[in-house]
């Protein structure tokens, strides 16, 4: 019997998974846009983004636009690869259950 894959715990968190999935479809996204799309609080969002950043899955660029701070997040190559791997593992775990 083939060994079942393990799911990456950094990505498996619901909010972190949502964030990576959002970022994979765009070049870069502002903190406020991510907050609006996930419906999360500032504190929780910041903490989860920091975890993704520490894992090397997202990069952040902080700058000032018209004297207001702006944080722009991008998914890294490692983040893209990890998400792809996660989806493969998920599909493998679900097996024939997908589409049922």
């Amino acid at each position: 019997m083939p060994e079942l894959p393990e799911l990456n715990p950094v990505i498996h968190g619901k909010l972190r998974l949502a964030l990576l999935s959002l970022l994979v479809g765009v070049e870069e996204a502002e903190f406020t846009w991510l907050r609006a799309k996930t419906g999360s609080t500032d504190g929780n969002l910041g903490a989860q983004l920091l975890k993704l950043e520490e894992a090397g899955y997202v990069s952040v660029e902080k700058k000032f636009v018209q004297r207001k701070p702006q944080s722009l997040y991008r998914i890294t190559e490692a983040g893209r690869a990890a998400l792809t791997e996660y989806v493969h593992a998920l599909r493998q775990l679900l097996g024939g259950a997908i589409g049922a």
């Binding site: 498996h12 619901k14 998974l17 949502a18 999935s21 959002l22 970022l23 994979v24 479809g25 765009v26 070049e27 870069e28 996204a29 502002e30 406020t32 846009w33 609006a36 799309k37 998400l83 989806v87 998920l90 599909r91 775990l93 679900l94 259950a97 997908i98």
Partner: protein, 198 residues
Amino acid sequence: MTANNEELELKDRLSLIESMIAEGRRTTERWGWVFVLWGVANITAILWAALAHFPWAWPITMITAWVVTIVVAVRKTAKRPSTTLGRAVSAIWIAFGISMMLLFPALGISGRIDEYIQISVGSAMLGMAYAASAILLRWKAQFACALVWWCSSIYACFGKSTPVAVVYLSAIFLCMIVFGVYGMISDWRMRRREASHA
């Protein structure tokens, strides 16, 4: 956690990924209003110039449409993330807009323009922009509009004044106003569907 619950949880993760990716991609849409705006602006300019013989009809309507487009577009895109696809489609329309705003005033000032050249060149350029955008977005309805523009362009090379104007006005109505409204309705439907799935 039972095996069934675990399976549901994993399925939930998969649908979360799909919906979030779709949300990111959807940022390139919501532009139906621009087609409607420019369709109305073009028809207004044509009728105003033809019926009132007012020489400033074109500059006034075109500049107004440009200002409205820029102001609304800046406000709409300010908080949106940028996507490669969105930037590619924007590039087509910005380049098209600049070409039109340079070419037609220059032709008008030099006097080297008539209605046939205006319709033929304008329609051909619109056909090019519609087709390029349609290929990028894989949007069949927009490609069908590109075909209509090219027909209008070719017909302006051979047809007589009134039928050429009628074909051009019909193309504007169909490919800008009707197409724009269709774009707005499909976007609204998509948003409603996503809201009900959320």
